[in-house]
Amino acid sequence: MKTFLKLVLALVVLELQPAFCQTANSVVCFENDLIPIFTKHGCNSGACHGAAVGRGGFKLSLYGSDPAADYKAVALELEGRRVNLADPALSLLLLKPTEAISHGGGYVLEDGHADRQTLLKWIAQGAVKATHKRLERVEVSPTEYVAARMEEPLSLTAVAHYADGSQRDVTATTVFIAEDNSAVEIDPETARVKFLRPGRHIVIARYLSEVLPIELIVPLGEASGDWGKETRTNFIDDELLEAQRTLGLSLSPRADDATLLRRMHLDLTGRLPTVEQLRQTMPPDQKLIEELLNSPAFVEYWTLQLAKLLRIRASSNDTDGANVYHRWLSEQLAADVGYDQIARNLILADGDSRLEGPANFYRTVSGPREQVEFMSEVFMGSRLRCANCHNHPLDRWTQDDYHGLAAIFAKVDAGVVVKPKPNGEVIHPRTLEAAIPRIPGGKMIESVDSDPRLPLANWLVDSDNPTFAKAMVNRLWKSMMGRGLVEPVDDFRATNPATHPELLEKLATDFVDHGYSIRRTLKLIASSEAYARSSIALETNRADDRFYSHAPWKPLEAEVLADMISDVLAVSEQYGNVELGARAVVLEDAKIPSMSLDILGRCDREESCEGTLGSTAGLTQKLHLFNGPLLNARLSHPQSRLNAMIANGVKPREIVVEFYRVALCREPNSEELDFWQTRLQHLPTEREQHSLLEDFVWGLLCCREFSTNH
């Protein structure tokens, strides 16, 4: 057909149709009709043209977050070369995805697919931008669903609601993605769900800028006991039991006293209980929790936790700032200063960083954008960094939020002396102009006279702020329970919902109501029955890794494990030039020379420590632990606990029992005792017995029971 005739026909089509977004035979809207097609076929994903720099010279906004920019890219850029208005079927926009010509992204759209016809129709209608309907919201159904069995059929639907009151079924162009596609399979054409394994599964529904989570549950077990009779200490147990009941999970029994005592000591003070404490404080109770929370060891250990969160470290061989910062933090914890006040002091910090601890908050990372990412992860539990190049694809944060917050931090001179810098600014990459200071998700800060950090600090610690308290209690929860209610702990977003949202809400409310006291929340968790559960999984709850039916085996941090090894061996580790005998958890310099801490996998705090797996990670570390001088040299040290006991004539059996108490905080059972006794008795010389005892201690220190908190 001649070109002009095609055009005329296209124009006739245009003139005959009412100006509505696509229904049958209507005008195709770029925003409402085409962008969902791009998303459905992956064109605007981060791996394709939605990448920050685009792909193959063609850049779309990530998941269609910027329709205006997308329209320019599709219809206007390079003199409109991607659409051929004279012969729509020859448009690059069609030839590429149907692979009529070479396409780096492959064959993503079949020739006969309805979406191709929609693209073609849009071009034939003139490739215009006009949007006739403004999307107000998308409603997905169901949003929560508990299936009785794996085979239960389920179809997802999505309905778009427009500002004019109309609605449209957009299931066909809504993308449903299972967070774990080994658990749930969704047919992209029909939106039918197929469960592949039981558990709680999250499906993300995406239509235009709307991203909604769908929670699907298939019970993990068939437990049907009398849930009302389960012991409950506080609301934590109420909430967890409710979820466990829904999932049909069996519950492991309460841990024995010795295990629980060790767990509490390690969680609250980072230390093993001494043999004396083991004897005195059975059973572990509220009194013990109070004692531990009020001990100097608590302050030391939790100062380490906060120091890692805030990435306190020396820079450029200048340790003064890190030391003063570390001490300030320790003072805050010792005085039980509210976490809101700590955060506020950090946000508003000024002064000489060698003298004022909080001022170092602005010297942790370099540059206002990096400060945005650091601050948002620490205090908001959100990865705002995604919004640097584009609106966050899975959250509400926009590029304006990111660069608006950066504009606030640009007004801080982060030199050795931290002070306001009223003329500081950052360039917004989209507008190429200075970004306007802005509270995330909120209003612009227009005033040029006052420090914009003040409204930021007020907003951050406001009790109505949904992110601040939740981010912290989630971290405290993870520290005690092994897994955050939201994981990762710095990735709060609507599309990454908490496993127990009501529990998170109640913990946050309690945190706020009690002056943001870290001790209070830790006590609440440590007092719960859920915390006290055994780490020994039952056959019927083994598959559970997030509903707390049994306690986790938590890897220990490098500093804690190093101290435990020193305590068990009774031989101190030398850390740099610090006086011999200093504990690793109190070191102010995170980079102090120490091969032991390196081997055990310490976090150097250059980046977030929250992804650090802990001391038991990595084959190299294991091999060092097994074969290297970390254990072997100190095992044979003349003043070691083992050599001192042998020198004092302690019998081998007593040595075995003592080391079980010191390292594992329990008595050896009869099988274990028999094992070691039998082997020791068969050795003819003291030298050989000594050697076996060294092997025994080495074995204890390398075993999982020692190197984890469980």
């Binding site: 010279g57 206007l76 409109g80 208005l85 209608q125």
Partner: protein, 334 residues
């Protein structure tokens, strides 16, 4: 004043650039002559060239070539071209030939050379692997083309063969201009750089990388006895002035919109930039200030040429819009 909408006429010569009506709208310092229907959906006008006398102009779009009279923009005739998706057109130095460039996107770049005024096809040059976006005539027999395939080719128009390839741009080439002595060609492209090439040897003399976004257009300052000066327009919203033989950026002006094409007035006294907000901006090259802004078209203005003698401008944009713009200073006395 609203646009006049006339019924569509199934006449190929008229629909080619959708000349539906002429409306005259007073604008800042001149008259605006519209040749389009506000509701049409025609392809954009991507290239414009004036004939030697200036009594006619040629415009190109996906619908082909259209020859219009000047100044009243009456369509004289339309011509189909074997170049699909044309992006650029240029008369040879003698005005005896007209080259039209474009091609099938991501497949093949193509240039068709016509005789002028007969518009008889003389040669088709095919060698690029993507659309040809820019042209520059060195002489009657030598044509230079820049393509989105990243390459530049120097063609022998008579034989249709390639004389040389200039490879160096990391991304597509969007604009070319020859310096007055015809021995140096300057190219610019999506890789944000200007590159200066010795035409005879093909040696890349220097790269100028100050723009922070793709460069959309280049234009050589005419009629100035000093060192050659080039203006570049970029998606970074700047127009920069360069002395390419020295490799020096002389000065720049930041605009409030993206300039898509630029040209100089024939006396070199003003740079004209047409932008993606539909505004034409006049820039004083010495003070580097925007001296006048005129809202001229709806949407993006892709192409621009200043008339060789009368001070008028011809601009082409989206939706097949082709307009004459007469600055205040060029209006005849009442």
């Amino acid at each position: 004043m609203g646009a006049i909408v006339l019924p569509r006429i199934l006449d190929k010569s008229l629909i080619a650039i959708a000349v539906m009506a002429v409306r005259i709208t007073p604008v800042l310092g001149g008259l605006l002559l519209s040749t389009t229907d506000a509701h049409s959906v025609e392809p954009p006008i991507t290239g414009i060239a004036f004939t030697r006398s200036g009594s006619e102009a040629v415009a190109c779009s996906q619908l082909g070539l259209t020859v219009v009279s000047w100044p009243n923009l009456t369509v004289r005739h339309t011509v189909e071209t074997s170049v699909t998706n044309p992006h650029s057109l240029m008369f040879s130095p003698s005005f005896g030939k007209l080259a039209v460039a474009g091609g099938r996107p991501s497949q093949q770049g193509m240039i068709q050379v016509f005789s002028w005024p007969e518009l008889r096809s003389l040669q088709v040059l095919a060698g690029h692997e993507d659309s040809v976006m820019a042209l520059a005539w060195r002489d009657e027999e030598t044509l230079i083309s820049g393509s989105l395939d990243h390459g530049i080719i120097v063609w022998d128009v008579v034989s249709g063969g390639q004389k040389r390839q200039l490879n160096g741009h990391a991304r597509g080439v969007t604009s070319l201009t020859l310096l007055p002595d015809k021995s140096i060609v300057v190219s610019a492209g999506i890789d944000q750089s200007l590159r200066i090439w010795k035409l005879d040897s093909g040696v890349l003399q220097r790269s100028l990388s100050i723009h922070t976004q793709p460069v959309n257009a280049l234009a050589l300052r005419p009629s100035v006895a000093e060192l050659p000066m080039i203006a570049s327009a970029s998606a970074d919203k700047t127009v920069r002035l360069w002395q390419p033989t020295l490799g020096r950026m002389v000065r720049f002006v930041r605009l409030s919109a993206v300039p898509l094409d630029i040209d100089w007035l024939p006396d070199g006294s003003q740079i004209i930039a047409v932008c993606d907000d539909g505004v034409v901006r006049w820039i004083d090259p010495d003070t580097i200030e925007v001296t006048q802004e005129t809202a001229a078209l709806e949407g993006w203005i892709y192409s621009l040429r200043s008339h060789p003698t009368d001070g008028g401008l011809l601009i082409g944009g989206g939706n097949g819009q082709l307009r004459r713009l007469v600055p205040e200073s060029a209006k005849p006395a009442q």
